[in-house]
Subunit: 227 residues, 2 copies
């Protein structure tokens, strides 16, 4: 065991500075996310596997997470934050209210499909399996999902206010749209043998129906080629 070994073997991770132990928590979440993305399944999340992934000893996880469910929960929470932000960004630059809601819906589907099959799309099967059981902390769960729900209500309301939607229940209609989007992400991915129609066409048409979009803008002085 000469000095050479210190160079070839993993050099015994240097500790985080005092009071900064929580930094490891973020590394654990990042490692778990990588693991899910690489293997395509949250099955692969075990304490030992995550520890291996980021090069620490398995017991070092204990101070930060009680069990694998807590780690997965943290991954989901992180992804959901990014997801909510991406949805917001997708719609925020768009002035036409119908185009805005469609842009958000397209972003939803794109994000959902970008993730590997089983878990990490926060939407795919939002809180699966045993996780669902422990994440039952309803207040937190709600705090996670309400932001994009509220944003969705706003998008439908925008169409109503502009006279582009006949909806009288923005609250309920956006949930129906959400259900459709969930299926639009999940079904063609898992049942690959059926001849699913073009995603964007389905999305555009079906969202328009569920949002009760009206064909004519109703505004008198609609500029035509104005874009």
């Amino acid at each position: 065991m000469g000095a050479a070994d210190d160079l070839t073997t993993a050099p015994a991770r240097q500790h985080n500075p005092r009071g900064q132990g929580h930094r490891l928590r973020d590394e654990i979440i990042a490692g778990a996310t990588q693991l899910i993305e690489r293997t395509g399944s949250e099955h692969s999340i075990t304490l030992r596997a995550v520890a291996r992934e980021i090069g620490i000893a398995a017991p070092s996880i204990a101070p930060h997470f009680a069990d694998r469910a807590e780690i997965i929960d943290a991954v989901v929470a992180t992804e959901l934050d990014a997801f909510t932000k991406a949805l917001h960004d997708a719609a925020s630059g768009v002035t036409d209210p119908v185009e805005a809601i469609l842009a958000a819906c397209r972003a939803y589907v794109a994000l959902g499909r970008a993730h590997p099959k089983p878990l990490p799309a926060p939407l795919r099967t939002p809180l699966p399996g045993d996780l669902g059981r422990r994440a039952a902390s309803d207040a937190r769960d709600r705090a996670r999902h309400e932001p994009h729900h509220r944003a969705g209500v706003g998008l439908v309301q925008g169409c109503i206010d502009a006279g582009r939607s006949a909806s009288t229940d923005a609250f309920g209609d956006i949930l129906a749209i959400w259900m459709l989007l969930h299926g639009l992400v999940a079904l063609p991915t898992s049942i690959t043998s059926l001849p699913w129609p073009d995603t964007d066409r389905t999305l555009t048409e079906s969202v328009a129906l569920l949002a009760r979009i009206q064909p004519a803008p109703r505004r008198r002085t609609k500029a035509r080629g104005q874009r």
Copy 2:
């Protein structure tokens, strides 16, 4: 180890008759289904657990199933058959075409929700995780899902033929409805903290929209209080 033990301990299962070894296969599927229903997760399917459930030795499974994925696959196939049949039954007695499609949709959601959370609703997350990988035998996968898809096309077509639907694409429209139903089953179950609207109302309204159901029946001599 007297004769009394033969009565109190499990009496060393008597073999199936010669040539009937395949009977055990059905027992294994039934045991696995029970296990999933009881634990609420296909995680609980292990060769040993299934063997325990039906009182056989673990190696006895090997001749019938190569691994746990094959067992889960068989459970899904069995459930899908029952599911397709239930959908058919739900709609077959109904003469009004709009009511028929709604009845099938209600049956879909009821069946989906009747099953424990994660797997066994064949629809919930149809072919999850590692299963998806191995069930890639596309021809079989298609043979499983095409029957209820075709039935769905027929239901929409029935509405079109009766002048109750403005749909020009029964094929695509039923798929959009399927996506909605998938979300209607999955989302309120997994995200319990949001104030989901009444399921039946959402279903009735949204399916009518996606199937492009027209408000007026168009038939001249519509009987009013006829039931």
